[in-house]
């Protein structure tokens, strides 16, 4: 008779290995043999995890087709077993997995599409704290350059060599038969949430450089220098005002 830890390890091993001889042996034969009864649990696990992936990655699923997506999901689940009791945490490695999945080698845009959908998913469930303008007013002007704004948990940056936004739109329900020119050029995207809606904004090189640096913890001075290096005509005042209005910046730990 196995101990409880042994039984649980055997159960999980048998979910991922259909040839596992040991586990069904721990199941009492009822009207049906243990192997068939155990298969119900194996099926439940894979179907519910595949369903969770499809809910997060509907555009990837649309692009590759439902049949292939199930095959992809089966491979992904085996390579990246869930490590949280909260299903919303599952599936973040799909972009990386797609990049190394041989059957998708002719579709090199898929990892970026997956990155966009994961960003959307995380932004949807993230808090969106307000930017504290009053606290900013208390900062002495000589310290402005040392300010550290952060990117809100409700905002994420994506950069791609492909026209991601057009791909995303062409694969929404009711999008019709539009085609997308993959050679149309890449883009920098901000994915963010206001109130109950997730929104996208195409970023110019200077805007992207500023937000990328702020997200990585740079001071306002260093981030501004990065933005000006990316675009000499970068308008810092307009960009900060826009981003604060869109709620994508935080200043909860403002001073270094």
């Amino acid at each position: 008779m196995p101990t409880l830890p042994e039984l649980q390890r055997d159960f999980v091993a048998a979910v991922f290995d259909a040839d596992s001889e040991r586990f069904p042996g721990e199941v009492r034969d009822g009207r049906f043999g243990g192997a068939r009864l155990f298969q119900i649990y194996r099926n439940n696990v894979f179907l519910s995890l595949t369903g969770a992936l499809a809910a997060v990655y509907p555009v990837v699923q649309c692009l590759v087709g439902a049949g292939f997506f199930d095959y992809l999901a089966d491979n992904f689940i085996r390579a990246h077993r869930p490590d949280s009791g909260n299903l919303h945490d599952f599936g973040g490695e799909l972009a990386e997995f797609l990049a190394g999945f041989p059957a998708c080698a002719d579709h090199p845009y898929l990892p970026d599409v997956a990155r966009l959908e994961w960003a959307y998913h995380r932004v949807f469930h993230a808090a969106a704290p307000a930017f504290d303008l009053a606290a900013l007013g208390a900062v002495p002007p000589e310290q402005y350059g040392a300010l550290r704004f952060g990117l809100s948990p409700g905002a994420r940056l994506i950069v791609s060599d492909y026209p991601l936004l057009a791909i995303w739109r062409a694969n929404q329900p009711g999008a019709g038969d539009t085609t997308v020119d993959l050679g149309a050029g890449g883009e920098r995207l901000l994915v963010f949430r206001r109130a109950l809606e997730v929104e996208f904004k195409l970023l110019a090189p200077g805007e992207y450089a500023l937000l990328d640096a702020l997200r990585d913890g740079a001071t306002l001075e260093h981030a501004s220098e990065r933005a000006l290096a990316a675009a000499a005509d970068f308008d810092l005042a307009a960009c900060l005002q826009q981003q604060v209005a869109l709620g994508t910046l935080t200043n909860t730990s403002t001073l270094s």
């Binding site: 992936l53 998708c104 303008l133 050679g183 810092l236």
Partner: protein, 90 residues
């Protein structure tokens, strides 16, 4: 290169000015068209969810013909392997 501290002083002063003017902030927020904001659609119900239910569906098919992507990726045309590179460090 422009004088960065002066740009920063002007930009932060501009932000602080927003705080004394709620209408200015509201006006800034309404400028989404100018900002190039794209709504993702009415999406507040689409999310993965935990449930305490099982799944009755039959075991997944493993037909070999499914082993290549076969979906709307046919809509994507043009230089997939020669897309213009975005300089990620800029």
């Amino acid at each position: 290169m422009k004088h960065t501290p002066a740009l920063i002083a002007g930009a932060v002063t501009g932000l602080i000015a927003l705080s004394t003017s709620a209408p200015a902030l509201a006006a800034a927020e309404k400028m989404e068209k100018c900002y190039g904001v794209v709504k993702a659609g009415k999406n507040d119900c689409q999310t993965s969810v935990s449930a305490c239910a099982g799944s009755a569906t039959k075991d997944g098919q493993k037909d070999a013909w499914l082993y290549l992507p076969k979906g709307s990726c046919e809509k994507l045309v043009g230089g997939s392997l020669s897309a213009a590179k975005v300089d990620k460090k800029k």
